[in-house]
Amino acid sequence: MLLLVAIHLVAAAVAPALTRLMDRRAFLVLALVPAGSLAWILAQTSTVTGPDARAVEQVTPWVPALDLELAFSLGTLSWFLAVLVTGVGALVLVYCAWYFRPGDPEIWRFSAVLTGFAGSMLGLVLSEDFLLLFVFWELTTVFSYLLVGHNPERKANRRAAMNALIVTTFGGLAMLVGIIVLGQRVGTYRIADIVAAEPSGAAVTAAIALILVGAVSKSALVPFHFWLPGAMAAPTPVSAYLHAAAMVKAGIFLVALLAPAFADTPLWRPSLLVLGVLTMLVGGLRALRQHDVKLLLAYGTVSQLGFLMAIVGLGTRNAALAGVAMICAHALFKAALFMVVGIVDRSCGTRDLRQLTGLARRMPVLLVVTVLAAASMAGIPPLTGFVAKETVFAAFEEVARTGDGTGLPSWAGWLVLAGLVVGSLLTVAYSLRFVWGVFADKDGAELPREPDAIPAGFLAPAAVLAVLSLVVGFLGRPWTTLVEGYSTAFPAGEHEEYLALWHGFELPLLLSAVAVAGGVVLHLQRYRTEVLQAQFTRLPDAERGYQWGMRGVDRLAVEVTGATQRGSLPLYLGTIVLALVLVPGFALVRQFDGLGDVVAWQHPAQAVVAVIMAVAAIAAVRSRKRLKAVILVGVAGYGMAVMFVLHGAPDLGLTQVLVETVTLVIFLLVLRRLPAYFSDRPLTIARWWRVAIGVAAGVAVGGFALAASGARTLPPVSEAFAREAYDFGGGENVVNVTLVDIRAWDTMGELSVLVVAATGVASLIFLITGRTGRVRPDEAIDHPSRWLRAGRTLSEERRSVVFEIVTRLVFHMIMVFSLFLVFSGHNEPGGGFAGGLIAGLALMVRYLAGGRHELDEAAPVDAGHLLGLGLVIATLSALAPLAFGGEVLQSAVVDGTLPVLGYVKLVTSLFFDFGVYLVVVGLMLDVLRSLGGGIDRGAEAEAEDDDPSSVPDAAPAEGIS
């Protein structure tokens, strides 16, 4: 059975190619797929139907973790549905081969989607795993969405497709929850097992209610019925197949499937009977006021679906028999009638019964087909519809008389029966209206064009269905036997019904007669009823309710989004900080029980530095001038360096000082292009809020630190660092060994951060200034003398020759010193990072002294190359130990005596450190070039463009403010 479904899906996949090859005749080939499936299903008839039916099962594992299996089963009920799905499917595909015009450019899509639908529908009725059933259930919804939107140019069509999708998916999702509640409770998702387990309880009742929501929405019962008439936007073959024979039956099928176990659940019968009868009446009445015959049929379908739901939901043996019979009868006549509508539409160019006239004479064969199908719909003997409807009435009569095990009070039984008779009366009336509307001669009506002849192949599918509607009516006995495999799942009643044309003069026959007579009267009085109905158009309307609801959702969405998505960065930051204060802060307060032993400081100097830092930080926040703020932040940073030193970490102190210096200079370089003052202050209230949140956050973080360090009972791992660093890492400088060996992996990551930061800054600045940072032979410094030639590019008042010369003198010394720091770093303060920063500072001084050309003179290399090379060296030295059988980043000590240098102890992590050095130098060079030289050049260009006398510093920067 998996194979059958798979073949459908494969056929759907190749359908576009096939249509390209054969145009609309491809449908005939595609029809072979459901036809073949039908053959297989028919071959199983003797096994899966009849009194000793036995389901054919097939299980393939799929997702065991979810209890989701590709479990298929062909039982009696699914046999009937599968026959309908494949049989009508094949006929509809044949019908399509004439319905579409030759060369229609859209049918590649249509054919694929329709075939895919056929496969999903077959999968649905064959599913034995409840989740799998849901899978196909939703697939049919999606395919239906695509088919309804086949002609998406019209707004109404798009909206109808959307409505159908949302309404049925809403029900579907409710059903999914119901399925999962059931499945988790019973411990299996096999439908047969769930039905056999007959679970009960409040949760099960809720689950069943949810599943019924799914069934009711899929089968277009009140209050979800409105999507179905809207779905008539689809091409007529779709209406015949999805919206008459197959998809809308899914809900009915599901109810029928579950009825043996759950019909006694509270809510089940009341809700299904009430909704069913109500839908039957509403649909029938609506059908009577339609002028579009397709819409007439659509409302007729709504009505019949209500009828079907009432029967299969009743849950007695007789009702089961009647329900299956009615499902079959409905599929046969309704699909045929839709096909007739399609034929008329194609041939006459209209579906409006006010325009259609005189077709009885011109299309006699079509008339016969229509009359057969419509008579079956109306329940006229000897057609299938009559046989089925008789049994329905009998089943309800039984319930009304004896209860038939349902526990329904007698009055309820009679009431439902009365409702159904009235519904049947309406059915007769709209059946007449349909035949009259399409074929009768009408005064004043005029066809928009002369009807085309109807090809035999176009008519054949409808004719087959109509003839079947006639023939099956005579096969009551064998039919009854076939159904027994399903109906015997219900307890036997006092009175066993069977399908037959003649039961004798009993109540059902009388009721049928009443319905037919009443329907004829109603049709004859059609103008009066139309006028009457027009009075009631203002009644509450489910569709309006739905639209109102969706508009509500849209409005809610806008409101909520407007409230949460303010687009304000300060607000987002405030939210985050507030979350920090409230969430972990709450936990902090809750666990607080006194401060414990707090050591205020180890050295009074710490307190002094802390106060200075705090004052600087507060002043920085209060500062209105950018420059002042930056310098104050710098003060806090230097304070941190002092703290490090006071804690006995000179290495960290050194690095912190260097970083602080570099940052300060870079800030200053950028500030040249920013306004001197921050933008306007926020309003007072907002400011107080900010102060409050800021203070709270500070207190909270302080509290975290206090609580956390107070909780420590175990020795930290760092206590072992000093000894291990020397023994295993080969260095005396713990900080450096940590950086390049113990935690070199972190360092490598941070190196890439530096590289990325450098490239990012450069790319932004040069995009904004529109220049490239590549080193090029520079005409500006083309001067015969190489000495201090770059400085000549500066204007006289900005040039300081003394500064330039001093810089030149110390530059190389500093560079050597920076390298020295790299080599000595393993044992003494220093290391690649500090060394790189010092080299960078040297470059910075060159830049400050002689401008950007001087920088190029000092370092005539592409910063990108330095960065890249540094990263390559670092990563390669990380990988190198692999070649010697070590771990990544493992270091080794090599020592020996070299000539001249004497004893040398080399730790291989030095190479890594050298990579660090190069990256840092590259970063510095890049930043100087972009934030220094790049901005200079931009400013110079602007100054030239604007007014030669304007000061470059005052020019506002764009983009990064």
């Binding site: 979810l66 987002y572 771990e887």
Partner: protein, 536 residues
């Protein structure tokens, strides 16, 4: 030699590649070759790691051969390896897509070739975050990927991008600071940052302080994962970036946050699932996020909101703190990485084809670009939770877990997740109806509106002319997208094994011992006593 030496390679190789890209900065060809080669190799490595982790338990390497307590360990357990594999496959596809886009940087005269090295560094950072067995190194991984993302999000330096980038950078810096505070507090309390060791030592910490640490970490990660109410930054910053950048961000970055939440919650704080708290967060994230999506009229922004919303599903799974919930969350992460990336790439194609991502400007694409329509529809339905796609399968486990956990709150969240699913479908159907079905608005003056198309979502990078007049999509961009569409759809086919791995991951996470003992008990060859093994 121990096979585990390959564990660091998903980080080292991209970094090496990034360096090499910078060295060969002038040769676009060399950069492409390097990037593509490196990431392909990483995919293979990740696959090997997943197989090994699944068959032999967590794979550990102690970097520099330092003992676990001192140095940094990288751990590839099932969860890490799975995340690694999915993320690298997706990254590779995005890279291929941007190769196809071609104009990424060479259309402009940038000082350094930026895109490829940065992209590789991003990949290294993501891999590092997944593999790290060390809390501080996890922070470094975050820093690496974040700093790369700062560069990528402002690529091209247009006004909207710089503005969006500011929001992104500042929020990310704040979140990093919180993470750092959390790490400092953790170290202060337990005296180590090795996660396995932290997990062991956490028992020595009073429960009240444990809760403080847990919430600190959770807050920091929730910003990165975009959990409501810490999520507002995301839809304001993602959509303006170039398509492949947004795609890779959407696919990976938030999920790294989710990964970190899963890892720390299960490993460090197994006895304090904070279920009720997280259930509320999940519910609000889902519902508020999806309402945001419904309110949008630009595809990129809409997708950014669905991104936030569906993070809620993963939080839901974590909150359940049951094996089923975690299984669902892990599966959903895999699904979401793939699908969200795919959709952003497709949106990039839509922008190329239709000249815009605004629903007010697009139209008629179903007819004019059928392949594009299929490429959008399938992953979009997947995102909308339509079976049989992975979005549905992920939800099933979560709903099952939610139903299993009795109580009104989890029932409420189940209802919320269903509503979210429906609204996701609604938002997607709206997009489909307007961009693909509705006839295109009158192309009054075609050229004009194409030029101004970037106003809402940032100007396109590179030369606008080159892209906007394409009636045929560039194959080199279509193929990687198609590969991702197929991959995303085939998650359905491999759902059985994939769920199997997810389930075993969840079991492993709940047990904790495999992870801890793999890290802390040294294997034979990594167990050299540091005092005796001074060198080779």
């Amino acid at each position: 030699m121990n096979v585990n030496v390959i564990i660091p390679l998903p980080v080292v190789l991209p970094l090496l590649g990034a360096g090499a890209c910078l060295v060969f900065g002038r040769s676009a060809r060399a950069q492409r070759l390097i990037s593509f080669g490196v990431l392909s190799a990483v995919v293979v490595i990740a696959a090997v790691l997943l197989v090994r982790a699944d068959t032999d338990g967590p794979q550990v390497v102690h970097l520099g051969a330092w003992p676990a307590e001192l140095g940094i360990s990288l751990v590839a357990d099932r969860l890490s390896a799975l995340m690694l594999l999915v993320s690298t496959v997706v990254t590779l596809c995005v890279l291929a897509y941007s190769l196809g886009q071609g104009v990424i940087e060479f259309g402009r005269d940038t000082p350094l070739s930026v895109y490829f090295p940065t992209f590789l560094v991003l990949s290294a950072g993501v891999s590092n975050a997944f593999l790290s067995g060390d809390l501080f190194n996890l922070f470094v991984g975050f820093e690496v990927l974040l700093s790369a993302s700062y560069v990528l999000i402002t690529l091209g330096g247009t006004g909207p991008r710089v503005r969006a980038g500011t929001t992104y950078v500042v929020v990310s810096l704040l979140s990093s600071m919180l993470f750092l505070i959390a790490i400092a507090a953790t170290y202060a309390a337990v005296g180590t940052v090795n996660m396995a060791d932290v997990a062991q030592r956490m028992d020595s910490v009073p429960p009240g302080v444990q809760l403080v640490l847990q919430l600190l970490l959770l807050t920091a990660f929730s910003i990165k994962a975009a959990v409501f109410p810490l999520s507002a930054w995301l839809p304001d910053s993602y959509p303006t970036a170039p398509a492949p950048v947004t795609a890779v961000f959407a696919g990976l970055l938030t999920k790294v946050g989710v990964y970190a939440i899963i890892r720390t919650q299960t490993l460090l704080f197994p006895d304090s699932p904070l279920s009720d708290f997280l259930l509320w967060a999940a519910l609000l994230t889902m519902v508020v996020g999806i309402l945001g999506a419904v309110a949008q009229s630009d595809i990129k922004r809409l997708l950014s909101f669905t991104l936030v919303s569906h993070i809620g599903y993963m939080i839901f799974g974590i909150a359940l703190a049951s094996e089923l919930g975690l299984t669902g969350a892990i599966f959903y992460v895999v699904h979401h990485i793939t699908i969200q990336t795919t959709l952003f790439l497709v949106t990039g194609l839509i922008e190329v084809r239709g000249g815009s991502t605004s629903l007010d400007r697009l139209g008629g694409l179903a007819r004019s670009a059928p392949l594009l329509a299929v490429m959008f529809f399938v992953p979009a339905m997947n995102l909308g939770g339509i079976p049989p796609f992975s979005g549905f399968l992920g939800k099933v486990a979560l709903v099952q877990g939610g139903i299993d956990r009795a109580g009104w709150l989890s029932t409420l969240v189940v209802a919320g997740s269903i509503v979210t699913s429906l609204l996701t479908l609604y938002a997607i159907a709206k997009t489909w109806n307007r961009a693909f079905w509705q006839p295109a608005p009158e192309d009054l003056d075609d050229l004009d509106h194409r030029w101004s198309s970037g106003t809402k979502s940032g100007e396109r990078w590179g030369s606008v002319d080159a892209l906007s007049n394409l009636t045929k999509l560039p194959t080199a961009m279509v193929v990687p997208t198609l590969v991702l569409v197929v991959l995303g759809s085939s998650l359905t086919l491999v759902a059985g094994p994939l769920y199997g791995v997810s389930e075993r991951s969840a079991t492993e996470l709940m047990e904790r011992t495999p992870y801890i003992s793999a890290v802390l008990t040294d294997d034979t060859d990594a167990g050299d006593d540091p005092s005796t093994a001074g060198g080779e």
